[in-house]
Amino acid sequence: MTFGDMMAAWTMALFSLAILSYLWKLNYVYKIAETFAVGSLLAHTFITTWTGSIEGICLKPLMAGNVVRIIPLIFGLLAFTRLSRRYAWISRYPTALLAGVGTGVMFGATFDAQILTQLAMTAQAFIDKDFFSASVILVGVFATLTYFIYTQEHTGALGISARVGRVFAMFSFGMNYAAELIWYVTLVVGIMIRLVDLWIKGAILGL
């Protein structure tokens, strides 16, 4: 292990332990590590945005004579007028442009992608003649939809359907929660593996 690798292993270990110390209680060691993480993330984002977007997409083509690229640059700079109380209103223009373009880009295909495609795939099990899956999907979709009907009291047939829908929704939330738990466990597992491999085995024991 080189000196650089050893320094990296110790830095990783100390910062990991500092962040994990939050499990004991909120403390200064944790706060220092957290501040470092936020600061380095900000610097990293700034540099990657500068090189990739501002320099790569605006400045370089602009210098090469593509004058149209000055427009996004001006709009970007206008966002900083927010720092002045007198001219803050100007910053609404880039914000409005961004929101408008964003909505436009999304809106056109949303109906097709999220409604029609999903509907088609709900029916896919019938087309594939997998009638068990098809029935479960059909009952699940309709029952869950009825659970969200709030303009009618949940009694009679609607009440039964809503109850079934609630069970389907609980299955879905349960699955989501379980998947979330797996994600959190993976994060801890990753930290533990690095602590054991790089720090204990590599930097301390020299294996």
Partner: protein, 280 residues
């Protein structure tokens, strides 16, 4: 007497769960176990879709995700890169998130594409982070040349032959989307499948699989979610990687959660039953 047992079960301190989970976690880290694994349909679909691409096809990789979830992605990205480098196809990756190209570069350095006989700029290319979220996706799809002038390493893109072949969605046979967002498939479907009829493969965190499964298999013929997906692809493709050990550790670490879940439910329903019995 019975009430006190149920009460005790309900009041086991959660600190015990943490300690037990860490002990279970350490076992496979110190002694690797190689637990059996079943290959799921989305992983099989992922692998087969890549393998069935015609020779010379170009794959676009929307490289998102972040270092905070590195352990969730690493095995999947590594196995995917190895499979793609072993096939007669070309690919390019662009940074959908600020960390995306860095993750890609890190994985590429580990697997060494030269050993697969691939040449940078001819067979694969890594573009930098392109800000804008879904708007960036739309721009890459409509006019790829408009979104970057340099590659991730700061080199002029015009010097690479592959760059000339990338004009827009019409040139791409497939899109692989790497993301740490559970709404990822919604936007990727909007921009690639709906507008250009291009199918998607997804690499995402385990917690996003329920949301993405809505698109399987029509829009998304395959997907890798979390460590499990990556490990499955490692096994299926025959390219070993970091996933197997992570997967074993994760499986064992979850055992105490299952035990506590059962104990907690026995405590809860037991006390509920006894309370009802007393009321009667």
């Amino acid at each position: 007497m019975r009430v006190s047992i149920y009460k005790k079960l309900r009041e086991i301190p959660d600190g015990y769960l943490g300690v037990l989970s860490i002990i279970f976690m350490l076992i496979p880290i110190i002694y690797p176990m190689g637990l059996p694994l079943q290959i799921s349909e989305p992983t099989r679909g992922f692998y087969n879709t890549l393998r069935n691409l015609p020779e010379g096809s170009i794959v676009c990789i929307d490289g998102g995700g972040g270092f905070a979830s590195l352990d969730e992605f690493e095995s999947s990205i590594t196995a995917t890169m190895k499979v793609m480098l072993s096939l007669p196809i070309k690919w390019f990756a662009w940074g959908y998130s600020a960390d995306g190209p860095i993750l890609m570069d890190m994985v590429l350095k580990k697997i060494n594409p030269d050993s697969f006989g691939k040449v940078y700029g001819e067979d694969y290319l890594v573009l930098p982070y392109i800000a804008g979220g879904e708007m960036a996706v739309a721009s890459v799809a409509s006019d790829t040349h408009n979104v970057a002038t340099n590659d991730y390493y700061g080199n002029d893109l015009t010097q690479y032959p592959l760059w000339d072949e990338l004009t827009g969605a019409e040139d791409f046979a497939l899109v692989i989307t790497i993301s740490g967002s559970c709404l990822n498939m919604d936007q990727e479907t909007r921009q690639w499948y709906t507008l250009y009829d291009i199918h998607l493969l997804e690499i995402n965190m385990a917690c996003c699989s329920p949301m993405s499964m809505n698109y399987f298999p029509d829009v998304m013929p395959g997907g890798l979610w979390g460590v499990k997906g990556g490990t499955e692809l490692e096994v299926l493709s025959g390219f070993p990687g970091p996933g197997a050990r992570l997967s074993d550790t994760q499986n064992l670490a979850l055992m105490p959660f299952l035990v506590f879940l059962i104990l907690g439910n026995i405590g809860y329903f037991g006390s509920l039953y006894l309370t009802k019995e007393e009321d009667m």
